[in-house]
């Protein structure tokens, strides 16, 4: 049986914060992917995690397409300036690691997957560069007379150098496109259509997409769910939250019923 694949962050994992501060995850009513599956009677498999980003997606996609026969995948492009960090007790640069090392299969019976944080001497986590971690740019010292001057980048805090010398530069664009080219590479040989979309206008989608040539199977939605639902259905999803960040079930339902079919038809 062929299944439609969904990759994304908390919005794709039925996640929200309750009024008492606890969190709910995998709530089918607050999950556009599960609602799409139900409304259109399409078997699906979901790989999602709160805070997930493009740096996760090549290995998730690779694992899913080994696991499931599919011809369609929806990738929810998420906020930039989300990074992965990790640690390996063995300091082995990943030798011997397999693509399923961090797959949490505890809900495999419902075709829902997420990431383990710790497994067999390794961990992998996501950090988001929130505003409380922000420091103003202090300038950059470089000199042809003192070629080691730029090594001062090393001595600044990680949050500072990561933001100013990686995040807010073309290097993040290159990583983003690299990750999606890997997905394209895998999708091409298996004839999978991959639709990349974004839930609201705070998520950046680059206009520059051809650094490594044109995509063959990956297509991008030109309009966010936020813009689409406002224009076509007069829904202002930024006022329809269940907590400070996550959307109400009516938003998920509208994404499932209206936006995802539109994405499938109109992405380029």
């Amino acid at each position: 049986m062929s299944r439609t694949l969904f990759l994304g962050d908390s919005h794709c994992a039925g996640f929200y914060e309750n009024q008492d501060g606890t969190c709910t995850i995998w709530d089918s009513a607050n999950n556009y992917a599960e609602l799409y599956s139900k409304i259109y009677n399409v078997p699906s498999a979901i790989y999602a995690m709160p805070g997930a980003c493009n740096r996760h997606y090549p290995v998730w996609f690779s694992w899913l397409v080994d696991e499931y026969k599919t011809d369609t995948a929806f990738i929810q492009s998420t906020y930039w300036n989300r990074y992965l960090f990790a640690h390996s007790k063995n300091l082995d640069w990943g030798d011997g690691i397999t693509k399923d090392h961090f797959v949490d299969k505890s809900q495999a019976s419902t075709h829902r997957y997420s990431n383990l944080v710790f497994n067999k001497g390794r961990f992998e986590l996501m950090v988001g560069q929130f505003k409380e971690l922000y420091e103003d740019f202090k300038g950059f010292e470089f000199s042809f007379e003192d070629p080691s001057a730029h090594y001062k980048v090393f001595n600044e805090t990680y949050k500072y150098s990561k933001l100013w010398f990686e995040g807010l530069t073309h290097l993040q664009l290159r990583d983003y496109l690299t990750d999606l080219i890997v997905v394209d590479h895998l999708a091409q040989e298996r004839n999978i259509d991959v639709y990349v979309w974004h839930i609201n206008n705070r998520v950046h989608i680059p206009n520059t997409k051809d650094l490594f040539g044109k995509f063959k199977r990956v297509k991008f939605a030109e309009k966010s769910a936020e813009d689409f639902l406002r224009k076509e259905y007069k829904m202002n999803i930024e006022n329809m939250h269940i907590d400070s960040e996550h959307y109400h079930k009516d938003v998920h339902n509208a994404i499932a019923e209206h936006y995802i079919p539109w994405v499938k038809k109109n992405s380029k």
């Binding site: 090549p58 290995v59 690779s62 930039w80 992965l84 960090f85 990790a86 640690h87 390996s88 300091l91 640069w93 990943g94 030798d95 011997g96 690691i97 397999t98 693509k99 090392h101 944080v117 961990f123 986590l125 950090v127 971690l133 950059f140 470089f142 730029h150 090594y151 980048v153 090393f154 001595n155 805090t157 990680y158 949050k159 150098s161 990561k162 100013w164 010398f165 990686e166 530069t169 073309h170 290097l171 993040q172 664009l173 290159r174 990583d175 690299t178 990750d179 080219i181 890997v182 394209d184 590479h185 895998l186 040989e189 950046h204 680059p206 206009n207 520059t208 650094l211 490594f212 040539g213």
Partner: protein, 271 residues
């Protein structure tokens, strides 16, 4: 006539040190140019001192736009080399093009070799390479994040970049993922062509991963697990670690010549 492409670091850029300790580029100590002359093969080299895999997809993309290509040699270089950049436009790369940093240098004297490198500045945008040398090493301090203390993870953001970059990105599977992704992008760009891409190492201090099938196998990219150092020692009794110039890091002409004459043809024949 089709061109052969070479990508690499200082070893591919004819880097050496003269008697006064001055650094020189595009000298005769360049296996790629020697290979070109021996085989009368037009070549294009894209190389930079400190070059690494994070540069290579962009470089290949630039060269494939410019040349009809018959084969590609990628000199895989030391891990724990990073790129840093800055862009006062803060446009997340929107005004960036793949050849923003490309700089064409003077062709070889015989005209057979076109030489490219990266400049560090393009307008007010820059991109530079950092190598994590031993003087930037700090001992691992442990990790305080846990399911019960999810904010513990944010402490690593407050540590020095050199510390967190080393212990929480580089010496982990994340560097492997980046490496394999970079090579996959290259494989993707030459997919459905007959262009072989040989990924090789000059000495045994360079890590070449064994589990290259993290996403899938490769079609055109071929990984060569016998380094030039091992090959030349086993087949030609050359101990290249002793055949270096003043800086003790870069190899003399005889080593470059042997790589061009023996090692690269061996790769082509056996991989």
């Amino acid at each position: 006539m089709k061109h052969t492409l070479f990508l690499g670091d200082s070893h591919s850029a004819g880097y050496t040190i003269d008697n006064d300790g001055q650094a020189l580029h595009w000298t005769e100590n360049n296996y790629a140019e020697i290979y070109s002359a021996k085989n009368n093969q037009p070549c294009a080299i894209y190389a930079q001192a400190g070059g690494c895999n994070r540069k290579f997809p962009t470089w290949i993309s630039c060269l494939l736009d410019r040349y009809d290509v018959n084969k590609i040699f990628i000199q895989s270089t030391h891990w724990n080399r990073y790129l840093v950049a800055n862009d006062p436009n803060l446009d997340l790369g929107e005004s960036y093009a793949k050849d923003t940093f490309l700089e064409r240098n003077e062709d070889s004297a015989n005209g057979l070799v076109h030489r490219y490198t990266d400049k560090r500045y393009a307008g007010n945008r820059y991109e530079a390479l950092l190598g994590q040398f031993e003087e930037y090493w700090d001992k691992f301090k442990g990790f305080k994040g846990s399911i019960d203390n999810p904010y513990g993870e944010f402490e690593i953001l407050e540590n020095q970049y050199r510390y967190t970059k080393l212990w929480h990105e580089a010496l982990t599977h994340l560097q492997l993922r980046d490496y394999i992704a970079d090579m996959t992008v290259i494989d993707h760009m030459v997919r459905n062509t007959d262009i072989p891409v040989y990924v090789w190492t000059i000495n045994n201090r360079i890590h070449l991963p064994k589990n290259t099938d993290l996403y899938r196998g490769f079609d055109n990219v071929k990984f060569v697990y016998t380094s030039a150092e091992d090959f030349l020692f086993e087949r030609h009794r050359m101990k290249i670690s002793k055949m270096v110039v003043e800086d003790k890091e870069h190899y003399n002409y005889d080593v470059h010549s042997a790589i061009a004459e023996y090692y690269l043809p061996y790769i082509e024949k056996n991989y």
